[in-house]
Structures are given as structure tokens and as C-alpha cells.
Symmetry: C2
């Protein structure tokens, strides 16, 4: 029974990778850089996007919003006059806890790839399954809020291991928490040595320039014109 | 293809319910009340357990710790001299993002049911899938930290709809956040009218007595001796 289960997971991931490659090919044809943006619920993904999506220098950013239900985040971002596409994972019961390549593919007709240079895919808030499914992205960015505690890299290692940038958010609250930032950074380094960590606050604006510049660099690397 | 997928989910849930009933029968025979304890990562489940598990009046509490990987939380609780059993969901790749009835069943041999009156099952940190799987519990308790924002009931409705108590944690941070508590409580009421919400802080101790008393009431209701 256990063998069967593993086989099913592998087949699902093989199929996912095939579709992720097809997504990747579409993004390449359109010259669009893609960011898979992930975190636990409430870590601040949407707030961190609100801070930057309208003003990455020379880069037109679009957003694909993955949510179990509703369009709260898409509504927030649409106010910034960037193209936003909503993708709900709730066809029945509790909904899917992650985006996979096929869900993203099913939404691509609604994404104006010709009008953007970068697509940020805001995944469902979850530190486990989103990390298991490639969707055709160039890079993975995760947010870990300091309010979540220092132990998260050790408890959810795949998410931290497979990302290209860790945004350490809500640092405006550090003075009010029993949170050991050095311990967190040490834990990140244990599971993903050398990965870049950026200290940010969507609320105070601290670190937001660096986050915006990082996105610009990703887009410019594809365009062959580094900033 | 869509029909096939729904059928698989239903069969998985049917099988899960069958095993959940078997767990329930074992708990009944042992006279043990069971709490399925859920939240997003970092909401404070373990800290809220540390505050109460050793001193629920007249109730011997044991804990079953569900984690993708590691035993950090179990180690914290073991220091309180209550029986703690670790259950890891990571046989391969990224691990399971929730506990199901069969995972709990596989751990029951290691849980000293004869020596406890209440078993708290600390689920994997996730606001989606844990709500979909019964494990044989009497009650469901979820934690929503104020640092996660007011919108979570609307984005993850099944979790809020299926719980018997919402612990609103980290209220010691309210003065430092742009968080509208009334809006949050209104949102909870939209998806689960009348569910009890308890304001707590694992850090300051505020509200902890009420949380402990609520657990005592659950155990005493089974024992036929209400507090």
C-alpha cells in the first residue's frame, strides 16, 4: 500500500513537470520572467507585492493570484493598475492547498503575456505542498515573517531549500517579539547554505528598495540588459 | 478528467472516515477526549500547549505532535513531563501537509491511552488540508494569530467553519499592528456564525485560564462530571 502511494506521487510529479515545461516554453516565447511567490498564510505576500509591482524600473509586472477562495488579494492589487488574474483552487470541498503546473496552465489564456515582462504567481499560503510543484517559474521567492518564529526552516525544509530568495518580513515588529534573528538566519543556512535573505517590512518600507531591485535584476537578466 | 479527480478525493475521504471511526472507538474505550489542534505555521500552537498541558485540573493530558520533519515541538513539550508522541509526515520528498486518520492510527500504539484523559493532536501547520481530514477527534480547536491579518476566515473558510473554538493568539502585539479585531470577528461570524472566539496571548498569559478551563470542560463532559 505504501509502495502504491509513492508511485502515485511520482507519477503526479512527472505529469506536473511535463506541464511546467510547457508553461516555461510559453513564458520564454513571450519573454516573460516568472516568479513563484510563496509563504505561510498571513506572512505578507500581497503587502510586499503592493509595495513593488507598479514601480519596478523598466519592467511591466503582472500578477497571477492563487487562492482557495475569494478575490481579496487580487482586488487589492488591481487597484495598482497592473494586470491581475485570479485563480481559485476551490472546485469542491476544502480546495487545493497549492498551485500546480496544470492550474497555472489553465489560467494562462487570461494572463496578458504580451503586455508584461514579469509574472509574479502568488501561491496559496502554505509552507509544504507549494514547494513540491514547479509551475514553470524562473525563480522562487518565499516570505518568512518574524512573527512565525525562528524554527520554520527546520520544520519546513523543502520550502527554504528550493527558494532563491528569502524575504524576512515584518521586521518592524522585532522589538516587540522574543525572536532571535541570528538563530533564524543560522537555521536557514542549515537547510539552504548561501541563499540570500533580505530583511524587509511591508509596513515601514524598510528593505523594499532592495526587494524591488532584485526583481528588476531577474527581469533584466532575461532581457540581456542587466541594470 | 475533472470527474475522475473528484471521485478519487471522495474515495480517499471515505477511507479516511472509516479509519477515523476506528480511532474514535479506541479513544472511547480508553475514555480519552481528543482535540484536533490546527493553525497556520507559527501561529503559536505549541506555545499555547506549553501554557496548559501540565495543569488542566483533574485531567491528564497527552500530546501527539504532527510535523513534516524533526521533533522540535515534541522536545519542548516533553520538558513539561506529559506524554508526547512524535509523528513525522515526511517519508519522502516534501512530506504530507496534514495528518489523516491513518497516520494517527499508525501512531496509536505509541500513545499511552490508559494513562491519559485527553489527547491533543497538534496537526501540521496549514490552514487548508488539515480541515479536510477527520482523525477521530471530539473537538477541533484552531489558532489564528493577529499577526496573520483579518482576512483569513474568508480565505480559508473550511478551517474556520469546522472548528469548535478559535483561539485568537498574540493579542499582546495588537498595539503594534494595523489589525482590526472587530473586522476579524465579523469575518469569522460570516463563515461560522456563533463559534466561540477566545482572545489569548501565549506570551503574556492573557486568556490562558479560559483556554485551560475550556479544555477541562471538554474532558469533564466525557467523564460525565462537568466542572
Amino acid at each position: 500500500m505504501h509502495r502504491t502511494k509513492v508511485r502515485i506521487v511520482e507519477e503526479a510529479l512527472d505529469a506536473n513537470n511535463t506541464i511546467a515545461h510547457a508553461n516555461r516554453a510559453d513564458f520564454d516565447r513571450a519573454g516573460v520572467s516568472v516568479v513563484n511567490f510563496m509563504s505561510a498564510p498571513g506572512a505578507g505576500k500581497t503587502s510586499l507585492l503592493e509595495r513593488v509591482v507598479g514601480n519596478v524600473p523598466g519592467v511591466r509586472v503582472g500578477v497571477l493570484e492563487g487562492d482557495v477562495q475569494g478575490s481579496l488579494d487580487a482586488d487589492r492589487l488591481a487597484g495598482l493598475h497592473v494586470p491581475v488574474t485570479q485563480l481559485n483552487t476551490d472546485p469542491s470541498f476544502g480546495g487545493e492547498c497549492h498551485l500546480d503546473a496544470n492550474m497555472v496552465r489553465s489560467a494562462l489564456d487570461a494572463v496578458p503575456l504580451a503586455e508584461i515582462d514579469m509574472l509574479v504567481i502568488e501561491n496559496v499560503g502554505n509552507l509544504v505542498c507549494p514547494a513540491e510543484f514547479k509551475v514553470g517559474e524562473d525563480v522562487r521567492v518565499m516570505v518568512s515573517a518574524v512573527t512565525e518564529g525562528e524554527d520554520k526552516p527546520l520544520k519546513y525544509p523543502l520550502m527554504f531549500r528550493t527558494c532563491d530568495l528569502v524575504l524576512v518580513n515584518k521586521i518592524d515588529l522585532l522589538a516587540h517579539l522574543d525572536y532571535d534573528l541570528d538563530r533564524f538566519l543560522y537555521n536557514v543556512d542549515q537547510v539552504h547554505p548561501g541563499v540570500r535573505c533580505m530583511l524587509v517590512s511591508a509596513r515601514s518600507g524598510e528593505g523594499i528598495d532592495a526587494w524591488r531591485d532584485w526583481l528588476a535584476d531577474v527581469a533584466h537578466a532575461r532581457q540581456g540588459a542587466p541594470a
